[in-house]
Structure formats: C-alpha cells, structure tokens
Amino acid sequence: MKLRKSINIKVSIFLAAIFIIMGAISAFVFLRDLNIKEFSRIKDDNYRIVKVLTNELFNNKEIWNFNSAGIKETQDKFIELYKNITGQNIFLLNIYNKDSIIEASSFFELEGYSADNLNDNEIKNVLITGKDNIIYESLEENHISLYLKNIDPKSKILEIFIPVIIENKIIGAVETYFIIEIEARQYVISMAVITGISILVALIFMYIFFYRYIVMPINIIRRATYSVSKGEFSRFIQINQKDEIWDLADDFNRMIRGLNSLSGEITRLKDVGKMKSEFISIVAHQLRTPLSGIKWALETVFEKKLSNNVSQWLLKIQDLNERMIEIITDFLNAARIEEGKFGYNFEKNVDLIEILNKIVDSHLIGIIKKKINFSFPSKNSSFIIKADVNKLKIVFDNLLDNAIDYTSDNGSIGIKLQKQKDFVIVEINDTGIGIRKEDMIKLFTRFFRSKEAKSSKTAGSGIGLFVAKDIVKKHNGDILVESEFGKGSKFFVKLPIF
C-alpha cells in the first residue's frame, strides 16, 4: 500500500501529531503549575510548623535573653521538635536579635556543615549573601511580618523567617533553612510515558478500525467502479456495515441496475447509428452513378447544336447536378469518417501552393461572377508537406466555397500563408456574414448550419467543415477560426511542414 494514498495512515499520522503537540503543551503547563503549587504547599506547611514552634519556645521571656547556653538548648529542642513533626531535618537555624544580628546559629554546631565546605553552590550562595537577599512580605494572618528570602521555586532550599513577638513587640527572628525535594517532575514524566503508550495503542486500534470500516469498503467500491469504467455493468457490491458507506454501496448497486437497463439501450442506439451511417453511405454511393451519368450526358449534349434557350436551361441543370454531386460527396465522406472507412493515401513532398493554386483556379468563375476582390500573394512560393492531396483538396475546396458563398458581391477574400515553427498556417479570410460567438463551438459538428447560413440563398449540407476538420486532424494539424459577426471570418489551417 502506498503511504500517500491511504486515508488510514494519513488520519493516524495527523492524530498522532495532534496528540504529541497537545501532550507536550499540557505536560509543560502541568509541570510548571505543579512545581509552583507543590512548593507553596511545602512553604506554607513549614511556615506554620516553624511559627508554632517559635511561639512555643520563645514564649518564655526569660529565654529570650540570648545567653548562649539557653539559645543552644532552644536550638536543639527546636530541631528535635521539628524532626518529630515532619520527619525532616532542619538544615539551618539562625536566631537574630532585633538589630538583625545573628545571636546564635545551629549551622556552626551541626556536624559536617560549614559555609565553606558545602558543595551545593546554591546553598552556599544563600548562606554567604545572607540578609542581602531578604525581602519583606506581609502576611495578613495575625498581623505577623514574614521575611522570606527570594528563592527560586525550582531550587531545593526553602528559607523561612519568623519574627519572635512578645507582648506585641518584635524581639528578634528565627531563620530556618530546609532542604526540600519536589518529586512531581518524575511523576509527570512517568505519567507522560504511560499516556504516550496508551495513545499509541489507541492509534493502532484506530488504524485497524479505519482500515476495516472505511478503507476496505472504499477499496471494494473502487474496484467495482473501475470495472464500470471498463464497461462491465454486472458487478454488485456487498458491504456488511450499516452506515454511510453502506448507503454509498447501495446507491452504487442501484446505479449498476440502472446502467444494466441502459446498456441495452446504448447498444441499440449504437446499432441504429451504425445503420444510419451505412444507410447514408449506400444511398450516397448509389446516387453517384446516376449523377455522373447526368454529368457526362450533359457534356455530350453540349456538343450538339443547341438553341440559346435550351443551352441556358441545360447550363442550369448542369449547375444543379454539380451541386448535387458536391452534397452527395459531402454525405459520403461524413459517413465514411463515422464508419472509420475514410482511408488516407499520404504522399511525401506535396507542394501546398500547388494544391491551393488548383483550388483557386476551380473557383475563379465564382470569384469573378461576384466581383470579389481576391488576393493570394504567396501563389509563387512553395511549402512542402506530407499529405493526402485529394483529401486536402476537399478541405480547401470547402473553405473557399464557404468564403465565396457567404461573401456578398464586391466583398474581399484573401489567402495568406505564414510559417510558424514547424507548421505552415494557411489563412483564408473573407468579408462575409461572419459567425456568432455562440455558433463557434458547433461550427465543426455534423449538419450544423447557422441561422444566417440557412436563410442565405446558398445550399450547404452542414457537413463540409466537419469533414475538413477531420481531414486536417488526420494530417496532425488543426483548423481554427476567428470571426466577427456581420463583418467576416478567418479560417486558419495549420499543417506540419515536412
């Protein structure tokens, strides 16, 4: 299965990406939030404990005379009490007098601790910088002032200042340091791993679900539509799930039934169409013999001595006969094109100008009769192409016929040749009736005649341009048209130069 083609994989990748992005964002927010909350919880707890202990221990005015012996005892008791309550050691306990001078410090008495041999730079920094980092915070509760060092929530030390207040007078302060660990981070990370695994499992199940209920039925329908496109109208789809896809399959089956009944009709219509072209072909063919009989008979008659009047009539008959021959030939050609029997006989080294000159010669009478201003400046040049000469004659014969028929007396017709890359373009322009925009697309279809053409005096089968287009296409060329309604038309025949 190609990756880019499967909806299943696309949806899975898309969802996985969304899950990962959402997970990352929520883990980040949660972790940050949790850190702060956890820290302030520990801070509050410790604050309360230390405050209680401080109040209890320093309530006796006598102790607060900062005699070193008493202080030492107090410190030991304080640390012990704190350990009893929290199960944790106080890292450091300093006792300040009201002038913010350290009267006693457990630090120096604690075994193994000294400001200099501490490895933790953070702790060292706090100890050395001392009161410089103290900020003032006021707690609403009991109107107690609290001094707290500005400690980053991510750090592992918590420092608390509790003022010693006796008879509403601040006598000094107790400063404590605790080592605190925030384990929430680990917790969140392991949670993220579990969530990730469950998302992956969910995705796998979703993939299977998608494949079974969406991709597979779509593939079944696709295979069935493919066989329809190959003209096979007998394949029905069976899908065993009642949802939109089932509806689609149901509609498809209904369409197949419809097509089945239609295909009979189509075959019948094709047969009728074939019969029609065969009929036209036979009729046209059969008519050619009597028409050529009349043609040659008239020629024979013209050799006899005829009165002027009779000869005028016979000329009219000859005209009509020629027109009939033209129409019948058009019909026959169109029928042959449709039957695929319009055989070609290509020759190399055909001079296009020679063909055009011949066509022009055979139309000179018509041009002169209508006093048309005709120009063909390239008639002495040469363009060599590969062509079926007789077929190309039909093309230019048709185009020049049209130009003459639809151009009024004293109008102009011109033939211009122009080389464009590997093509020669023959332009046949006229100042005739022109073609409406809406008629342009139908111009080269069979039996099409515009309103104006029908109402003009000229006869036409509406087949000429259909035949011409087909012939030029078979020469690997094309016919294009430009026209301004009421002003004239330009037909361009584009043929490859050999």
């Binding site: 050619r288 013999t289 050529s292 009989g293 009349i294 040659w296 008979a297 006989n345 079926d388 007789n390």
Partner: protein, 120 residues
C-alpha cells in the same frame, strides 16, 4: 485507328463515353459486363481498356486477373464510382495506367487521359 474497349454497366455513361471517343477518332466497343468485355478483348485486341470496377457478374478486378492469366497485355484506365484509397492502391498493384473517379471528372478529362496513354 486505335481500338478502345469500354466495360461499363451504366448505359448512359458508356454511351456518352463512346460518343465522345468516337468523335475524337477512336474505334470504340462497349461491353456492359465483364464476360462480354473479355470476349471483345480476345477478338479485337484493343489498344486501351476503359474498365469500371463494380459490374454485374465478374467485377473489374476479376477482368484484370483473367487478362493477366491469359497473358493479354492491354493498357487499362479504371473509371470507378468511389475512388477509395484501397481501390486505387489495389488497381495500381494490378498495373493499371490511370484511375478516374466518375463524378469528379468530366468527359474532357477522360479524353485527355486517354490521349496521354495511347496517343491519337
């Protein structure tokens, strides 16, 4: 006087052609089917055969084949009704001198072709 045999089933075409070519100074015989035509040719040994393709009984190609079999050499001008490339090709293969599509050619054209093949 040069002798021409015309094998053409359409009476008026044959007659028109005969009259024109007779007036031009040829000796013209007309046959309305292939068998009669072949008999004429064997008797008269003409200088030119003007042959239609679609004929009652044996057709134009059959006539050409039989002439070949009997080793009779006579220039042939095919005068046909359809002018399909297949027909022209087949005729060329059988060695005809020229090919004319009736509706597209006038008697003048036919006369010119005849003249160019056998002279006056």
């Amino acid at each position: 006087m040069k002798k021409i045999v015309i094998i053409e089933d359409e009476l008026i075409l044959a007659e028109a052609l005969k009259e024109r070519l007779t007036n031009t100074g040829y000796n013209v015989f007309v046959a309305y089917n292939g068998e009669d035509g072949l008999e004429y040719i064997r008797k008269k040994t003409p200088d030119l055969l003007i042959l239609d393709i679609l004929l009652p009984g044996i057709n134009g190609y059959d006539v050409m084949r039989k002439l070949k079999e009997s080793n009779i050499k006579v220039p042939i001008l095919v005068v046909s009704n359809s002018g399909q490339p297949v027909e022209i090709e087949k005729s060329q293969e059988m060695g005809v001198r020229d090919f004319i599509v009736k509706v597209d050619f006038s008697l003048d054209d036919v006369e010119k072709k005849v003249r160019s093949i056998i002279g006056d």
